[in-house]
């Protein structure tokens, strides 16, 4: 029995492009048509405990946003199950399911497109708690004012439209909307990536303050290792739809195990105090439509052997609380 509040167990997600009518006709006439299937997630398991911050790190095509959306209940997995407080989410009745859905909320990357441009702030934030009856109609004004204050916005802004706000303020509106339904987990998908540098720190601080005040758990999805190191208790590294390493943040940053994690840490932009030579990781990120055999990372890995091209390394415990998927760990 696990103590996870929300958990993805052995989840896979495939996106397939169905051939359209023209392609079907072409196929009948003998043209080579194939269904393009993208394996965005390949048997991924990840859990978040009550009040825990899990950092999810990956580059484009890693499937990090897909996993976030599946955990947030926006998408259904192709295989595998999501467990909420130990029960499969799809086995819940309607009332329980709604409670489970509302318990996991999402904060998005783009502060503009994540807010409905034709709604006022009061409506954007207040719609869901009103619809779900979380707040009585009479108290909605006070509830909104309190929420806006909590995220650092003047409650008098409630009647304004999103375009009247700056990027940082819009991010705060997005956070208020998520908080409005009293969630226990927030999935933050690159929630600060689109913000100005001086605003990023403000929003990170807001996330930390809300966690302390409300006991929230976060799935913090980011490509920015510096931010993840600062916030996360535990970190999972995704590469082309598979978790290659997961560990407590302090240990992962102190002694990364997987060669990909090592490379990511080495390539992480740091404010150095002077010009220096860059030593980049070679090679392209492969396409998830046609991923490499065996370990997805082997074409770029300096330590790759014949086994790496043939056999998928299993994600195994290498130390208490630390998991990695690399054949190199077997040699020791």
């Amino acid at each position: 029995m696990s103590d996870f509040l929300i958990e993805a167990r052995d989840v896979s997600k495939r996106f397939s492009q169905e051939p359209d009518l023209a392609a079907k006709v072409a196929g009948l006439l003998g043209a080579k048509t194939k269904r393009i299937v993208v394996h965005a997630l390949d048997h991924v398991s990840l859990g978040i405990r009550e009040g825990e911050v899990v950092g999810l790190v990956g580059e484009s095509g890693s499937g990090k946003s897909t996993l976030g959306r599946i955990i947030a209940g926006i998408w259904e997995p192709s295989d595998g199950e999501i467990f909420f407080a130990g029960t499969a989410r799809n086995g819940l009745n309607d009332v329980q399911r709604r409670a489970a859905d509302l318990a996991v909320q999402m904060v998005f990357q783009d502060p503009m497109s994540s807010l409905n441009p034709r709604m006022r702030v009061a409506q954007i934030v207040g719609e869901a708690p009103q619809y779900h009856g979380i707040v009585p109609q009479a108290e909605i004004g006070a509830y909104l004012a309190d929420l806006l204050q909590k995220v650092g916005l003047d409650p008098s802004f409630a009647e304004r439209y999103p375009h009247q706000f700056s990027g940082g303020q819009r991010a705060r509106i997005g956070i208020a909307r998520a908080l409005a339904v009293k969630p226990r987990v927030i999935v933050a998908d690159e929630a600060i990536a689109a913000l100005d540098v001086s605003i990023q720190a403000q929003v990170i601080n807001l996330f930390m303050k809300l966690r302390a005040e409300l006991g929230l758990a976060y799935l913090f999805i980011s490509h920015d290792l510096g931010v993840v190191r600062h916030l996360a208790d535990r970190v999972a590294i995704l590469y082309l739809g598979r978790i290659v390493e997961s560990a407590p943040a302090s240990e992962l940053f102190r002694a990364p195990n997987h060669p990909y994690t090592v490379a990511l840490l080495a390539n992480m932009p740091k404010v150095e105090t002077g010009k220096h030579a860059f030593a980049p990781l070679e090679g392209e990120i492969p396409s998830p439509i046609n991923p490499p055999t065996g370990c997805h990372f082997h074409p770029r890995c300096a330590h790759a052997t014949a086994r790496c091209t043939a056999e998928v390394p299993a994600l195994r415990e290498i130390a208490p609380g630390r998991m990695a998927a690399c054949h190199l760990n077997d040699a020791v």
């Binding site: 001086s198 605003i199 930390m208 600062h230 390539n267």
Partner: protein, 327 residues
């Protein structure tokens, strides 16, 4: 030694219906041959408009209202569009955040590159092709012969940016303006591109103005750093000096707000407030209302440019004491 690029008191304003936007307000800097200048700022700081002004690409309602831009001694402000054509693409090239700004999606790479060569050089098609092939291999594109016959959509984002850089380098320009060229790329790909550009600049002696919002990206790449805020250059100096001993409270604030410079799990040292609208700048120093070193005189007048030790220029009445910085 004369600088490759000398910008002096450059002001570029936009005359909009809502008022005059001073996107670039009296900035000066220079870039020596083979050097990299990191031009850092947030959105609305004027860093991109500075780059466009140097390229002569400011469109209505914007206009360079005063100042001078000299490329290897030649004045660029006020050139006719005809004269520009002999400079743009040959003496100055630009790399954009989105490589598709440079690449035409419906033409093969070889077509585009050969046309670019022939536009400025009187050579045969064959030698233009050979030059394109060499340019591709120079930016680290494997099997350039095959890649020449491909279309832009057949490349990954990182490869496309490499092709854009190859095109920018075709005429061995004296100066490259790179506007956030790695912002849209993944961490590992970004490191590859930076390493490549670093190597090329050292080999060819091309000067680079690297425009970015990310201090971390330019910190290891640039020789000098120029920090912009609300259209003004507020601090400029050798990269190591600016990062190790930031003098302007804004530069210090930016560095102090980075997670890496804060104890883990603790609140970050944030800069309060948000960047001001260029239409309604606060009186005096535009950073004043957000500044931790603010005093009464800050709101009365905009601080003039002053030179301090270690080759740093500054616009601040009350700079940070030199020892008061991070390790």
């Amino acid at each position: 030694m004369s600088a490759t690029l000398e910008v002096k008191d450059l002001s570029t304003h936009f005359f909009t219906r809502a008022g005059v936007v001073k996107a670039v307000d009296s900035i000066s800097f220079s870039v020596e041959r083979g050097q990299v200048l990191g031009l850092v700022g947030e959105s609305g700081s004027g860093k991109t408009v500075t780059g466009l002004s140097i390229m002569g690409l400011v469109d209505r309602p914007g206009r360079i209202v005063s100042g001078s831009i000299k490329l290897a001694g030649q004045e660029l402000v006020g050139l006719s569009e005809r004269d520009w054509r002999t400079i743009r693409g040959r003496k100055i090239a630009m790399i954009f955040q989105d490589p598709m700004m440079t690449l035409n999606p419906v033409l093969r790479i070889d077509t585009q590159m050969i046309e670019t060569v022939l536009a400025h050089a009187d050579v045969s098609r064959e030698s233009a092709r050979e030059r394109s092939r060499q340019a591709l291999s120079r930016v680290g594109i494997p099997s350039p012969d095959e890649r020449l016959t491909a279309y832009p959509h057949q490349f990954s984002g990182g490869m496309r940016q490499r092709v854009a850089i190859a095109i920018a380098l075709l005429h061995d320009p004296e100066l490259i303006i790179a506007d956030e060229p790695t912002t849209a790329l993944d961490v590992t790909i970004q490191a590859q591109i930076i390493a490549q550009v670093q190597k090329l600049a050292a080999e060819t002696g091309t000067s680079i103005v690297w425009v970015t919002h990310d201090l971390a990206v330019v910190s290891g790449l640039s020789d000098r750093l120029a920090v912009m805020y609300a259209g003004r250059l507020i601090e400029e100096g050798p990269t190591a000096e600016v990062l190790r001993h930031p003098h302007h409270p804004y530069t210090l604030g930016l560095l102090n707000s980075l997670p890496i410079n804060n104890p883990q799990g603790q609140p970050l040292n944030q800069i309060p407030g948000s960047t001001p609208s260029l239409l309604r700048l606060p009186p005096g120093c535009p950073f004043g209302p957000r500044c931790s070193h603010r005093q009464d005189d800050c709101a009365s007048a905009a601080p003039p440019e002053t030179s301090v030790d270690h080759g740093v220029r500054l616009r601040c009445f009350h700079p940070v004491a030199r020892q008061g910085a991070l390790a």
